[in-house]
């Protein structure tokens, strides 16, 4: 109830702020000098006339660049945004092809254009505010900051802008824009039958989402989705916690008083981190094939009669994947635990020993609570990392075995991400891949939110400092 109220307040607050902001634009215009008024049309005009060339040129360049992009390029795509193109390709009498609209680029550049338009409005607003501030300063009889000072501030007070400009641009173009694009794809029919440049695709609303939650019926996408989701969660749980406890165990073993060659043991274990996984995991996967080394030697030694179906039996495959993952995961946790275990004050153990506690009791009462407390955030990130642990699954057995009970090429050891990958590469079923991607996001977000509420230390960022 309280939360609802708060969010309600936030919304009304936003509209109040928006109204005030628009009013401010008006008063800036009416109260402003002709230099400020000029800036409403030509951004940076006011700044240039006041001698603030650095700012003026920056604003002007931004305006020119964005307008050129919007009208010279983006509008061609944006105009078809609602239909995603209508003109198909056609063959000419001489056998050559004439391509029509390309839905992919209409969607991608349409989105980009919308974003640039929004950015233009924001820059325009920033430009007005800058004009108003300058005017105020001048009215108060103060000097405007010089160009030199403006530029120098980019290395000092405004250093954050310098530092973040390129990373932000990179993340926008190569992470944010593609994600927004793929979210849009989830609402289209972009798949093997609707593939540009030969074919067009269209908006289809929520059809794909309906498809993925419908259990039974044609294709039974829903049933498969929930099977894969469940295994993804089970896998992430075991992969995280087994590695966590066994890794800690190994660290305790190595750190034990009197054990020599500590460095050697550690070095042997971290080999699995150092050697690229596409070599090591691929090979280990082959070792467990029906005719692989393990089965061959077991048969040769007469231990088993018939090869163990490690990868073809769903249950065996799932267990084996979790076990092999220990091979990769234990060293990682061992390294972390080694450092942290040394931080536990030795006198804690000393006094426990005097009280007559045995090793196990000391672990349960001292070591474990400390480790759990310190590595709480790590467990969360590691759980989320395992939800998306593509390499282990894909290099070991590509999500096999498939089954008549599952659809869309999914196998019993497929995680949502490996399934997504198969849909993209094998089936070029981009619409369903996009839907699965959104589902992965939802799962991750829900888990993170829940855990965040359990872990107060994560929320309090400044608390660390």
């Amino acid at each position: 109830m309280g939360e609802k109220k708060a969010s309600g307040n936030k919304i009304t607050g936003f509209f109040k702020w928006l109204a005030a902001d628009i009013a401010d634009i008006g008063t800036t215009f009416t109260d402003g000098s002709w230099k400020t008024k000029l800036s409403y049309l030509i951004m940076g005009g006011g700044q240039l006339l006041r001698g603030q060339y650095a700012r003026g040129i920056a604003f002007l360049a931004l305006e020119c660049g964005m307008l050129w992009f919007i009208f010279g390029f983006g509008m061609n795509y944006l105009k078809d945004f609602l239909t995603l193109g209508t003109k198909g390709r056609g063959f000419n009498p001489d056998g050559t092809i004439s391509y029509g609209d390309n839905s992919f680029f209409i969607l991608l550049y349409g989105l980009l254009t919308i974003i640039v338009i929004i950015a233009l409005i924001l820059v325009w607003r920033l430009n007005l505010r800058d004009n108003r501030n300058s005017e105020r300063l001048l009215k108060e009889g103060k000097h405007l900051p010089s160009n030199r000072k403006d530029l120098h501030s980019l290395l000092d007070q405004n250093f954050d802008k310098t530092l973040l400009a390129l990373p932000l641009l990179g993340i926008f173009v190569f992470t944010a824009l593609p994600i927004i694009f793929m979210i849009c794809v989830a609402f289209t029919n972009y798949d093997f039958n609707h593939q540009p440049p030969a074919q067009l695709f269209q908006w289809v609303g929520l059809e794909n989402f309906r498809n993925i939650v419908t259990v039974g019926g044609k294709g039974n996408f829903g049933g498969t989705f929930f099977t894969v989701l469940l295994w993804t969660l089970v896998w992430a749980f075991f992969a995280t916690f087994l590695n966590y406890f066994l890794g800690m165990g190994v660290a305790i073993l190595i750190n034990k008083k009197g054990v020599k060659l500590k460095k050697l043991w550690r070095t042997i274990l971290v080999m699995t981190i150092a050697v690229p996984q596409f070599v090591s995991l691929l090979y280990v996967g082959k070792m467990f094939a029906s005719d692989g080394l393990v089965n061959s030697y077991l048969i040769k030694w007469g231990i088993i009669e018939k090869a163990i179906p490690f990868w073809t039996n769903p249950t065996y495959a799932r267990i084996l994947i979790i076990v092999i993952n220990l091979w990769i995961g234990i060293p990682y946790m061992m390294l972390i635990a080694t450092g942290l275990l040394m931080n536990i004050p030795a006198d804690l153990y000393e006094s426990a020993r005097i009280d007559g506690a045995n090793q196990f009791q000391m672990f349960m009462k001292i070591t474990l609570p400390y480790m759990l407390f310190v590595t709480g955030p790590f467990l969360l990130t590691s759980f989320i990392g395992n939800l998306n642990n593509f390499n282990v699954i894909f290099l070991l057995n590509q999500g096999q075995p498939q089954s008549m009970k599952l659809t869309g090429g999914a196998g019993y050891t497929d995680l949502l991400v490996t399934w997504l990958y198969k849909m993209t590469i094998n089936d070029t079923n981009y619409k369903m891949a996009a839907v699965i991607g959104i589902m992965v996001f939802l799962v991750t977000a829900v888990i993170s939110l829940v855990v965040y509420n359990f872990l107060p230390s994560v929320k309090d960022e400044e608390g660390f400092q």
Binding site: T175, V259, R266, L269, P276, W327, T338, F378, T381, T424
Partner: protein, 283 residues
């Protein structure tokens, strides 16, 4: 009491030795396989461990005339080096800005990045491919293209580095600012030297990642074999039917990849431990 302690130690040693055998066995096999001759014996999978005759055929194959292995290796080295360099710079920039400076929208920015990070990376593969293609950075341009992709989004991986920056007392900054140093000077002259371990960690991790990148790299190279990296080229030897009997060559090539990466890792292990431990605690 002493006997009990000794027994405990013996058990520990036995467990450690067992673990070591399990951990090293696959690598041992891999090395043995790479010495099997694909000419004299058989280049595919076999069900015995020790080659009947040891030979260097598979290694010779990698460097014989007409083999592109060195080309792929060089590509990967270039990608790894440049990515490590640029990515480290980006991460330092972002971490410093987020750790030391307070600006409007900082919290929001971090939250947006957190949300973006919750989408699986493979989701956007097709879109990234076409974006790169528009820039001419696929096929023949795949190497710079991959570097661009690796570096462009690396700003979002600031957690560990920022966490470390947070532990450097802010009073140091303030003292320097009173002495007239600008923010930029503080970053270059003070923070970077103090944060050496985490910077080495960042560089090491970003150097190692491209060696294992075969999914997106093969997408971007798009059949242009001059632009392959080692992982892309060699996984074809195992996974496509066009390459029969290339398994021992795969093992040999894989070992040549693993050796330098492993040596580098072992040398910088200390920093790696510092990084992951710090990262684990800070989340």
């Amino acid at each position: 009491m002493k006997a009990k302690k000794r027994a405990g130690l013996t058990v520990t040693y036995i467990v450690l030795i067992l673990i070591s055998i399990i951990w090293l066995f696959p690598f041992f096999c891999l090395v043995l396989q790479s010495f099997r001759s694909y000419q004299g014996e058989f280049g595919g999978m076999v069900n015995y461990l020790v080659p009947k005759k040891f030979s260097l055929d598979s290694y010779k194959f990698l460097f014989q005339e007409g083999s592109q292995y060195t080309r792929w290796y060089t590509n990967t080295l270039i990608i790894a080096f440049v990515t490590a360099l640029l990515q480290t710079i980006v991460v330092i920039c972002v971490s410093y800005a987020l750790s030391r400076m307070r600006f409007a929208g900082r919290r929001a920015l971090m939250n947006v990045w957190l949300v973006l990070g919750m989408f699986p990376g493979f989701l956007t593969m097709i879109c990234l491919y076409f974006l790169l293609k528009q820039l001419g950075l696929t096929q023949a341009g795949a190497v710079p293209g991959l570097i661009l992709i690796n570096v462009a989004s690396s700003g979002m991986g600031y957690y560990v580095c920022k966490g470390y920056f947070d532990t450097i007392p802010k009073s140091l900054d303030e003292a320097a600012r009173i002495d007239g140093a600008s923010r930029a000077q503080i970053l270059v002259q003070m923070i970077i030297p103090l944060a050496k371990p985490i910077i080495i960690y960042t560089a090491l991790v970003s150097f190692m990642a491209p060696w294992c990148d075969y999914i997106f790299a093969s997408y971007v190279a798009f059949g242009h074999s001059d632009s392959y990296n080692v992982a892309v080229a060699m996984q074809r030897w195992v996974w496509t039917n066009d390459y029969q009997g290339y398994f021992t060559r795969f093992c040999a090539g894989g070992i040549l990849v693993a050796i330098p990466v492993t040596i580098l890792f072992m040398c910088l292990q200390k920093y790696y431990v510092e990084g992951v431990t710090g990262g684990a605690v800070k989340g």
